[in-house]
């Protein structure tokens, strides 16, 4: 692939952006006095800022690049990640879970698990989470540096070191506040940087009508009915009728319920943003306010991929073809940038790409330093020290987290399958966790032993299921089937993942109930006040104007999402 040439104006935009990012950290440094300031922004963030940060922390480079790649590979069905997955989950976490997260005054998700269940459940979650965040920030650093090397010819080392130093500097200076403020800046930059790309692409293919017409060729060439790339629901009756290889039950249950709720409701990376909000109402509104822009994101991140694949069929052939004969879908966004944007806007587009990467990485690092300091260091290594000690530890953990991420990025260059393996383990750990939270928050009889061993059961069942099935055309190994026998073959990896999640969630749910009934409750009703639905006073919102009431916001956002589903049915 030929490298894109950047002009002086492109570099200027990039440098201005870096200056602002560092400047925000510099200004905020004097507000960091205690560990609560550093790890939780002193719980002082207004709802709109927390909401946009909630969104942006998840909007890493992998999301931008990966969703466009899926848009090219699977078409409009990719919107299910938003309109079936993320939005309902965000409404649920805002309306039903935030009262316990925020109300319990827990400082992290693992700490909530300790208050609700016991030490071992917290320890298990804290350890796995800490390891996972370091690796996922390392992997996204690797992905970005590889991309910049391929597209711009920048040196891999320079990209890694430069981005690591900038993220380190602004988190070190201003802690979570600095990460959150920058995430909001990055949010606007990502939207305003990618929007011209989408508009130009749409103009080029002749609007939505022109796009669907071109995508019909893509679909029929691949052996599907004409609308397979431009409809979201019509082809879900059987797994063989759509490019994703899933049927509606696996999609709604696996992706919509288990994976999305598991991620948005239990992942500390996003929950931390809401925990930093300045009041209970603000915390509950955080995910709801985030859901409004999130609802429109498919047009920003999925459409570029669909446009690229439509042009591919039209003969322009933008995507380079890999050695196995399939296009390199991950390059959808970069080739669009190079194809449509002249010097000037090109710099803006690349700055947006860098911003998405930095927001994702900062999200991981701030979640890591908090879990490490509060849930591992303060709990098991050095309890009972003065607050200043933990603040120093937070600074040290930030440096350590970044260095470990860089190491993980280099490890990924050496062992390419680390990435696949970690995504696998992540799915094993996250999917059952949602069952644990659901039972913990809504069934007061759930016991500590039930939660811990239920979680273990869910994780093991996920591994077992994965070890006994394979996606079509894959060899036994990391992709599945590693237990010797292959009992079932799924039409795609996506379908396999969805079903692994369903098995993991269900087994954790059942095992937790059974073990809880067999063991004695380890917490009294008094202990569980504020942690469990039945023992927590209802939130009263009558004093708020209707547009600030969480329940109203939730209903409105769900109604809009329903309309979007119907329009693109």
């Amino acid at each position: 692939m030929q490298h894109i040439q950047l002009g002086a104006v492109d570099y200027t935009l990039l440098i201005v952006y870096f200056a602002f990012v560092l400047g925000i950290g510099w200004v905020l440094r004097r507000y960091v006095r205690s560990s609560e300031d550093f790890f939780l922004s002193g719980r002082s963030i207004p709802a709109w800022i927390a909401g946009l940060a909630f969104l942006s922390a998840n909007l890493g480079a992998q999301e931008v690049i990966g969703m466009a790649a899926s848009g090219a590979k699977y078409g409009m069905m990719t919107s299910h990640f938003y309109w079936v997955g993320a939005i309902p989950a965000m409404v649920f976490v805002g309306l039903f879970m935030m009262p316990f997260y925020y109300g319990s005054r827990a400082r992290s998700v693992p700490e909530y698990l300790k208050l609700r269940f016991d030490e071992k459940t917290r320890g298990f979650n804290a350890m796995t989470f800490a390891v996972m965040t370091v690796f996922s920030s390392g992997i996204s650093m690797y992905a970005l540096a590889k991309l910049l090397e391929l597209v711009l010819g920048w040196s891999f080392h320079m990209s890694v070191i430069l981005s690591a130093i900038i993220v380190l500097a602004y988190i070190f200076l201003g802690g979570l506040t600095s990460a959150i403020y920058n995430e909001v800046l990055q949010f606007f930059l990502i939207v305003l940087g990618f929007l011209p790309l989408v508009l130009l692409g749409l103009k080029d293919v002749g609007g939505w009508a022109g796009l669907t017409a071109k995508l019909e060729t893509v679909a029929t060439n691949a052996g599907f009915s004409a609308g397979a790339w431009s409809d979201s629901w019509r082809h879900l009756n059987s797994a063989s009728a759509n490019p994703m290889g899933v049927e509606w039950f696996g999609m709604v249950m696996g992706l919509g319920f288990v994976l999305s709720f598991g991620y948005w409701c239990t992942d500390f990376l996003v929950v931390q943003r809401a925990m930093a909000a300045d009041s209970m109402t603000a915390a509950r509104r955080t995910p709801l306010l985030a859901a409004f822009p999130k609802m429109l994101f498919p047009f920003l991140v999925i459409l570029p991929g669909m446009i690229v694949i439509a042009l591919q069929a039209g003969g322009t052939g933008l995507l380079p073809i890999g050695s196995d004969g399939t296009p390199n879908y991950n390059l959808a966004v970069p080739v669009m940038l190079a194809h449509y944007l002249p010097t000037g806007l090109l710099g803006l587009g690349l700055t947006a790409l860098m911003a998405s990467f930095m927001s994702g990485m900062a999200g991981n690092v701030t979640a890591f330093n908090t879990v490490w300091t509060y849930d591992i260091y303060q709990s098991y290594i050095r309890p009972g020290r003065p607050d200043a000690h933990y603040l120093r530890m937070g600074h040290a953990a930030t440096v350590f987290g970044i260095v470990a991420s860089v190491a993980a990025a280099y490890a990924t260059t050496k062992f390419n399958n680390i990435m696949d393996m970690l995504q696998l383990v992540f799915a094993f750990v996250n999917a059952p966790l949602f069952a644990t939270f659901l039972l913990g928050m809504f069934w007061r009889r759930t016991t500590g032993h039930g939660a811990f061993f239920g979680l273990l059961t869910g994780t093991l069942v996920a591994a077992l299921h994965h070890g006994l099935v394979l996606p079509l055309g894959a060899a036994a190994g990391l992709k599945g089937g590693f237990l010797g026998a292959v009992l079932h073959t799924y039409p795609s990896e996506m379908a396999q993942n969805f079903w692994t999640a369903i098995f993991a969630w269900t087994s954790c749910f059942v095992a937790t109930i059974v073990i809880s009934l067999l063991t004695r409750p380890n917490k009294s009703d008094e202990d569980l006040k504020g942690l469990v639905y039945a023992l927590t006073p209802r939130q009263r919102d009558e004093h708020l104007p209707w547009y600030k009431r969480p329940a109203t916001l939730g209903v409105v956002v769900l109604a809009f999402t329903l309309v979007l589903n119907i329009i693109f049915w």
Binding site: V9, V16, P342, G344, L345
Partner: protein, 70 residues
């Protein structure tokens, strides 16, 4: 509130808008072949400038309100 976030957002996008608009005027028309003949630097520069100025206006108004309040 520690730092009115609208201030840096407004400033950054105003600077971006000015740079892109000026560049849109100065640049050679030939580079816009790839953007379908549209001078996107000029037009999008103006969009960013407008967004930046609106954010700045909100920040300044908010700042005055806070002064009166205290």
């Amino acid at each position: 509130m520690k730092l009115d976030l609208r201030l840096p957002i407004g400033l950054m996008f105003t600077i971006f808008g000015v740079i892109l608009t000026l560049y849109g005027f100065a640049s050679d028309r030939a580079i816009y072949n790839r953007s379908l003949g549209v001078n996107v630097n000029l037009w999008w520069g103006l969009v960013l400038l407008a967004f930046g100025l609106v954010m700045l206006a909100f920040a300044l108004r908010g700042g005055r309100k806070a002064e009166r309040g205290s």
